[in-house]
Amino acid sequence: MNIEVAEERTDDALVLLPVGRLDSSNARAFESIVMERIGGGERRLIVDFSRLDFISSAGMRVLLIAAKALKTADGSLVLCAMKNHIQEVFRISGFDRIIPITESREASAPGSA
């Protein structure tokens, strides 16, 4: 199944905005979009959660893979604008310790870190 992912560009990062649900049925589609961008040379990725209502561990798995790949390539992955109930899932998974999560897109700019 597909997933709609809007893309925007800030000064030095590519912002991905997955829309709706990121679950076991479309995590693969999301994975190939993310890995294509990294493969294409993107080094600073921001995943903006403001249009995402649902994520399951299948979706989180993709983010961990991307974080690992970007770390190896000296890049960075930042997540922002998560709804509370989604942030809670990242917290109990310990993902908040290994992938930076910021309140807003602005706060995720490298300069502000």
């Binding site: 199944m1 076991s24 049925s25 399951s56 109930h85 109990i92 310990g94």
Partner: protein, 153 residues
């Protein structure tokens, strides 16, 4: 008010979506707080995916039954499947404090849903796995009324 909602299905990934929309209708009809609905749908995604990936190898007529029940102070999710015997409550928890390098890919689904549930029970009977996840709806300290409306979107 709808108190109970039950679906029997031959598991497919695509069924998870239909099911989640049904659970949302059930939640809306009962004015359940949105985070509780998320927990139920998260658990369904994890459990059905697990059954499909690990549970039904070589099983002839794979079946999952899902029941969501609204008790007086808890939201209860039960799944019954005829897959291989598997007790999710016996699975070791992942080390969520490990640094990125030592974090394996996967192994999170059961941890998440077990952490969120207030009570988890598993039994194997009649060739079926039966897993029950209970999510309290009353405020723990006050012991007062339901929290349903508080967080209602």
């Amino acid at each position: 008010m709808m108190d109970e909602f039950h679906v029997a299905l031959a598991p497919r990934l695509s069924a998870v979506r239909s099911l989640s929309r049904m659970v949302e209708e059930f939640g809306d009809a009962n004015r359940l707080p949105h985070p509780k609905i998320y927990m139920i749908n998260l658990a369904l995604d994890e459990l059905i995916t697990n059954s499909l990936t690990h549970g039904f190898d070589g099983i002839d007529d794979p079946r999952i039954e899902v029941t969501v029940r609204l008790a007086s102070d808890a939201l209860v999710l039960t799944t019954v499947d005829n897959g291989h015997r598997f007790d999710p409550t016996a699975v070791e928890r992942p080390d969520v404090e490990a640094p990125m390098e030592r974090r394996p890919i996967g192994g999170l689904g059961l941890h998440i849903i077990r952490t969120f549930a207030d009570r988890v029970t598993y039994e194997y009977a009649g060739g079926r796995n039966r897993l029950t996840l209970e999510h309290d709806l009353t405020a723990p300290a006050s012991g007062g009324g339901r929290r349903r409306d508080e967080e209602h979107r």
